[in-house]
């Protein structure tokens, strides 16, 4: 969300789609605020120098602000809707997810409609420590990132991860892909690498390299949507 033109663009999209949103923007604000306030209780260095201008590290303070452009336009619903759409179309029996705090409403949908496994990371900690309440009967398994590295995490019909988990070692995308069942769908969000994927000399970006890793795997189709921060989808034969 860079300028008024972006907001105008998504206001047009809002008028042409019809679906029942999983949650309200206020839900996102509330979840993000809880996490933001918890983070403030930690001895967390939140200087710009320490965190950078990075969605991976600033997600919750950004989304906690009610007047953030991400909360005052259709853009966030549009982005979440893409994941929801793929998930509903795939109808997976087994699902692996890495980011329940970024996508709390979708994780609740998954919890109620699939055999859900969550990755052992800070997002799972947020879910268990801050977000779970009596309104939802949570039931999921967990796997560690070490399990993903060792390819002992099991196999799934649907995998939802962000590129943040594999940015430091994009070859790990193969491990996630190897955990995908035949006919399975994998959605990776935030794959445009701050738009470096579309710039001149884009082949020197981590995102480009990750896509090359994916393309080198036999028996998969790789799709990319450049909207907002980019979604990449892999569907296995």
């Amino acid at each position: 969300m860079n300028n008024n033109n972006d907001q105008l663009y998504y206001s047009k999209i809002e008028k042409i789609v019809k679906y029942k949103s999983l949650g309200e923007i206020q839900d996102t604000v509330d979840v993000s605020t809880k996490i933001y306030e918890y983070n403030n209780t930690l001895s967390l260095d939140q200087r710009r120098e320490a965190l950078g201008n990075d969605l991976a590290t600033r997600f919750f303070d950004l989304f906690a602000k009610e007047d953030s452009a991400w909360n005052t336009s259709f853009v966030s619903e549009f982005y979440a809707g893409y994941a929801e759409m793929l998930y509903l179309a795939a109808k997976p029996a087994k699902t692996l997810m890495t980011n329940p705090a970024f996508n709390y409403e979708i994780s609740k949908l998954m919890n109620s409609s699939t055999d859900l496994t969550l990755v052992n990371n800070y997002q799972l900690d947020y879910l268990e420590n801050l977000l779970q309440d009596n309104a939802v009967n949570w039931s999921y398994n967990t796997v560690t990132m070490q399990d993903i590295e060792n390819e002992t995490a099991g196999t799934y019909d649907f995998i939802f991860l962000t590129m943040f988990e594999i940015y430091h070692d994009v070859s790990m995308v193969k491990n996630f892909c190897n955990a995908l069942n035949s006919k399975g769908t994998m959605l990776i969000s935030y794959t445009n690498d701050d738009a470096r994927l579309y710039s001149a000399e884009n082949e020197y970006s981590q995102a480009y390299e990750m896509h090359q890793e994916l393309k080198s795997i036999s028996g998969v189709n790789v799709y990319h949507s450049p909207a907002i921060t980019g979604h990449t989808v892999v569907i296995k034969d």
Binding site: S43, D54, A56, N120, T144, Y167, R196, E201, Y204
Partner: protein, 109 residues
């Protein structure tokens, strides 16, 4: 199975240690090193300067652009700049995730 704070921090610290070794820093100093020191080391390690760009004045199609434009758009520059971004982004993220992991670990103790 619930969140395992120990396994989480082991993974995060292993990745951070990897980047520290790239920078020539001792991973055993993780408890005392600061994010500023890590970022300074990363910046020193991945300095980009004009001397590394071999052909900035030989790009005929770029006549009309300033030398700075040619320099910023050259493949060598973009490659080096992206390597630098990769290093700094990765260090910042794992540093942040380590702070969160420590918070979870301390809460459990």
């Amino acid at each position: 199975m619930a969140f395992d704070a120990q396994k989480n921090i082991e993974y995060v610290e292993k990745q951070l240690a990897y980047f520290m070794m790239i920078l020539g820093l001792d991973p055993n100093s993780l408890d005392t090193v600061t994010i500023d020191e890590l970022l300074d080391a990363a910046r020193d390690f991945s300095k980009v300067n004009r001397g590394q760009i071999s052909n900035i004045y030989n790009v005929v199609e770029n006549i009309g652009n300033t030398p700075k434009d040619i320099y910023a758009g050259s493949p060598e520059y973009v490659f080096l700049k992206n390597q630098r971004i990769f290093l700094i982004l990765s260090i910042r993220r794992f540093w942040y995730w380590r702070q969160l992991a420590l918070g979870a670990l301390n809460r459990e103790q």
